[in-house]
């Protein structure tokens, strides 16, 4: 675009530092919030007030903050579960199913060791909680391994497989917890039996200990991709399976491995939501809601560009906004779905602003005063 002797031009970026990416993301968030204020204005609400309410409830309120943190842990685990196969160029659309089977795995441990008998059963948390974590990880990994195996051995599209496994897992949970199912709540109600008090996950200042798990996994993954042989092999396969094969990397083992790892992390997300979040402690009737929420892991992973550390602030932001948005919707008597709409708008602006990861706008003096008109002069 030319204006007088000056020109606005798009230039390709050759490099992008972490700081530039962070600044672009922050600008995107500001832009997205500004855009969404139209919704508040249309409803006669001062957007500044609304945002203040959202953020203060999500991040500074004694009731809101623990909710935000639980949501954040869940999102971060789902994001990590997406990122691991993503770095291998594969799409895990099945965190939903993997977390269901992970939850079933955790509850199966309890079931086998007598946890169903009574809420006050006296079980040893030092043994049972680790076992439940392992059960959850194995469950998620087992389901995802199917997709990894089919991809590695027969090159069957992993998106389709993980997606369809979600449905199988959904109905499997239903079979297990509804009337007649082995994990059925003694009182019926279409939910699972409750966790005995003795094995509920310990809380640290009201936040489940799984936060260390989630942050630890993000750190380990960052190290894995940046420094290790395995990480190198995964990334090489992700950019070019043919080149990876040439470099001696097994094109069977890598898809299998990343799906096992991703599935295990998604399984832990299942443990977290159904066995560690205060006030839940069972596979709830509306368990489908958490499955849907798992899809935000995909978007968080894409916004973080597959970087496990960048995923931390992204998951925290979206965890907070989903809690704060829901709160403000109720408090200000606004329409249903405000929180989802807010998340959606922000995600779209964040993804759209990634354009500036590749291009920058520069303002240059052309020196020559001319206009582009017609095909030739």
């Amino acid at each position: 675009m030319r204006i007088g002797s000056h020109e606005l031009r798009l230039e390709k970026r050759l490099t992008l530092t972490g700081w530039e990416a962070a600044i672009i993301s922050i600008l995107a968030i500001i832009f997205g919030l500004a855009l969404f204020s139209i919704i508040f204005i249309l409803d006669g609400v001062n957007p500044l007030f609304a945002y203040q309410e959202i953020f203060s409830y999500a991040f500074a309120n004694p009731y809101g903050l623990p909710l935000t943190m639980s949501r954040f842990i869940f999102l971060l685990l789902c994001t990590s579960a997406f990122i691991i196969p993503f770095r291998a160029g594969l799409w895990n659309i099945g965190m939903t199913g993997q977390l269901y089977v992970g939850a079933l795995g955790a509850f199966a441990v309890l079931f086998a060791l007598g946890g169903k008998a009574s809420r006050s059963a006296d079980l040893s948390p030092g043994i049972l909680i680790p076992l439940m974590l392992i059960g959850a990880a194995l469950g998620g990994a087992g389901l995802a391994a199917i997709a990894g195996f089919l991809k590695g051995r027969f090159n069957i599209n992993e998106i389709v497989v993980t997606m369809l496994l979600n449905f199988i897992a959904f109905w499997l949970v239903s079979f297990m917890i509804k009337e007649g199912g082995p994990f059925m709540n003694p009182g019926g109600r279409g939910e699972s039996f409750e966790l005995p008090f003795s094995v509920r996950a310990p809380l640290i200042m009201g936040i489940p200990f799984t936060i260390f798990l989630a942050l630890g996994i993000a750190l380990v993954l960052y190290f894995l991709f940046a420094k290790t042989q395995i990480g190198y092999q995964i990334r090489a396969y992700g950019h070019s399976p043919a080149a990876a094969r040439y470099a001696g990397i097994s094109t069977f083992r890598i898809p299998l491995l990343v799906f096992i790892m991703g599935g295990a992390v998604a399984g832990l997300a299942g443990y977290h939501y159904f066995a560690a979040v205060p006030g839940v402690y069972k596979i709830a009737r509306n368990y489908g809601f958490f499955g849907d929420l798992a899809f935000y892991g995909i978007i968080c992973g894409l916004i973080a560009l597959g970087n496990p550390l960048a995923a931390i602030p992204v998951a925290l932001l979206f965890g907070g906004l989903s809690i704060g948005g829901r709160f403000v919707q109720g408090k200000l008597n606004m329409g249903f779905g405000l929180d989802y709409a807010l998340l959606g708008v922000l995600m779209i602006t964040l993804v759209a602003f990634q354009f500036f990861y590749r291009y920058k706008i520069v303002w240059v003096k052309t020196g020559e005063d001319r206009l582009d008109v017609g095909v030739y002069r």
Binding site: T228, S240, A243, G248, I249, V375, R377
Partner: protein, 543 residues
């Protein structure tokens, strides 16, 4: 931009269409004046002046990265020049997109084919043609296209699907597409780089036929000097974005062109180094393998390579040599037979095990297999070192050490790259090949398999690669060289094995191999001279 995006006025269209009508032989049709194009960090074209006349074949010559393709993309409207003018039929034009150029009668055949592979030849040709209308009149169109084919000597089945075609045939489709759109200027970007020798010959004949026709005007971009000399009328040489020579082809020699192109004298003939050969490093017994499409591409090949010798396989691509290279590298399963490396049977070893045992493989697909475009140079070098105990301990890759190695390679091999963190996709073809070669040679392989190591490289880079192969030979590596370039095989190999339809048609000592006889054997003939004595095995296998 203030003009309408939707299109030109009726009047404008008329003027444009007419620009190249009625042009006579020898008149200037397309001219570039002072074309300058800058990309971040480089000036790809620096005030280039250049013109093409009707009925001439004008070669544009230059090393990789000299700016040939950029210039042609500007003439075709893919890029807008930063400075300078493009003049068609005496009028200055400003292309907004290739559509404008096509409307004016400029056609371009890209190095990378741009065809719909699931469609037939005729569908690809009419795709986007304004006259094709809404309902395809395939009968009439087919007739017109067949006429074009006859006139210029193309042979092609119009109803074949594009995926079934060879590279040469795909190129013919691209040329037909441009001609059918009414191209009067045809820009061919490195048209022979993917072609086998017989296909090249056919193409050159067609190009000459087009040039004798009043309307066909054919600039020609290549770095293959013999082709330039054989076919072009005039030649323009580019070096680092500038025109360094402009001449009638009759007034230049291969040597003088190479000098202008590279900027220094180039040695064409390599002295075959005399190295005392050691024990056999590779023994192949009766090896066979399937192609990607599932038929037997390699049928029972036997040979051996000793330390310090170059075993050259000459053949037109698609005769099983690619499958052979992949089986040896562990990237393709052997259907039968044995591969023995340094006395050990590796027929069923994995690719990684072979690397660790001292096999080095330079693949012909540099971009798709030999490197990872989105990886930095350091990470690309790591492809052959991430598993090496000197560069990785207890599962942790020592990127610091690999970076040092990368810096050494970049300076020793003169890889033109701003830093070790540059992404490999930003390297030119020649530099990428240097990087791959250096990476593999840094492992000091006992057996080196080089599949088309100089294909598509310019004169300077080719010389460099061949010298490096010679150095490796002097260091007692056994080398298996696969090449389509007969001169290359003949000039460096200690043994020459022409391959045809999955079998060697002979194995000849390098000094005795003659161009004519080996050429004939590449095409399948087995002259009596090379038949084994009565009672011998297949081919003239050395023992």
């Amino acid at each position: 931009m203030s003009h309408s995006i939707l299109g030109k006025s009726q009047e404008e269209k008329q003027v444009q269409k007419g620009l190249l009508d009625g042009i006579k032989r020898g008149e200037t049709v397309l001219e570039a004046r002072g074309i300058t194009k800058r990309f971040p960090g480089v000036v790809a074209n620096d005030h280039i002046d250049f013109e093409i006349r009707a009925g001439e074949i004008h070669a544009i010559l230059g090393e990789n990265g000299a700016g040939k393709t950029t210039l042609m993309n500007i003439l075709f409207g893919l890029y807008q020049p930063d400075e300078g003018e493009v003049i068609v039929g005496g009028k200055e034009v400003k292309f907004r997109s290739p559509l404008d150029a096509i409307d004016l009668g400029i056609g371009m055949v890209h190095q990378n084919r741009k065809l719909v592979s699931a469609h037939t030849v005729i569908e690809n040709i009419v795709l986007g043609h304004p006259r094709a209308g809404k309902i395809l009149n395939l009968k009439r169109t087919g007739g017109e296209i067949n006429e074009l084919c006859e006139r210029y000597g193309f042979k092609i089945d119009l109803r074949a699907k594009v995926w079934q075609l060879s590279e040469g045939e795909k190129q013919v489709v691209e040329i037909l597409k441009a001609l059918y759109r009414g191209a009067k200027v045809l820009i061919l970007d490195e048209p022979t780089s993917a072609l086998a020798p017989p296909e090249t010959k056919k193409l050159l004949a067609s190009i000459e036929a087009m040039a004798t026709d009043e309307l066909a005007i054919v600039p020609f971009i290549t770095h293959k000097l013999p082709i330039v000399l054989a076919i072009s009328d005039r030649v323009t040489v580019l070096r680092r974005g500038k025109v360094t020579a402009r001449s009638e082809t009759a007034c230049v020699t291969e040597k003088s062109l190479a000098k202008e192109m590279v900027g220094r004298e180039v040695i064409f003939r390599l002295e075959r180094a005399n190295v005392e050969t050691g024990k056999p490093i590779l023994q192949v017994e009766n090896l066979s393998a399937l192609s990607d499409k599932g038929f037997l591409a390699l049928e029972g090949v036997s040979f051996s390579v000793r330390e310090g010798e170059i075993f050259g396989i000459a053949g037109v691509s698609g005769n099983g040599q690619h499958e052979l290279a992949e089986v040896l590298a562990g990237l393709r399963k052997a259907q039968g037979g044995k591969v023995i490396l340094g006395g050990k049977d590796i027929t069923h070893s994995s690719c990684l095990e072979r690397w660790q045992m001292g096999l080095g493989y330079i693949p012909s697909e540099r971009v798709e297999v030999g490197s990872i475009g989105d990886f930095s140079l350091v990470e690309n070098i790591a492809m052959n070192f991430y598993f090496d105990a000197n560069f990785s301990q207890r599962g942790i890759v020592d990127y610091g050490n690999i970076r040092k190695l990368t810096e050494e390679i970049v300076s020793e091999y003169n890889v033109a790259a701003p830093s070790p963190d540059t992404k490999a996709k930003n390297l030119s073809g020649g530099n990428l090949q240097k990087l791959i070669l250096a990476r593999v040679l840094s492992r000091r392989p006992r057996l080196l398999i080089a599949n088309l190591p100089t294909q598509g490289l310019d004169v300077g880079a080719t010389e460099f690669v061949r010298n490096k192969l010679m150095e490796a030979k002097k260091e007692k590596a056994g080398i298996l060289l696969i090449s389509e370039d007969l001169d290359e095989v003949l000039s460096v190999s200690d043994w020459v094995a022409p391959i045809y339809e999955g079998k060697f048609t002979g194995i000849i000592p390098g000094e005795e191999a003659k161009r004519e006889s080996v050429g004939a054997m590449m095409a399948g003939s087995r002259p009596p001279l090379f038949l084994p004595p009565v009672g011998g095995g297949e081919g003239g296998q050395e023992t």
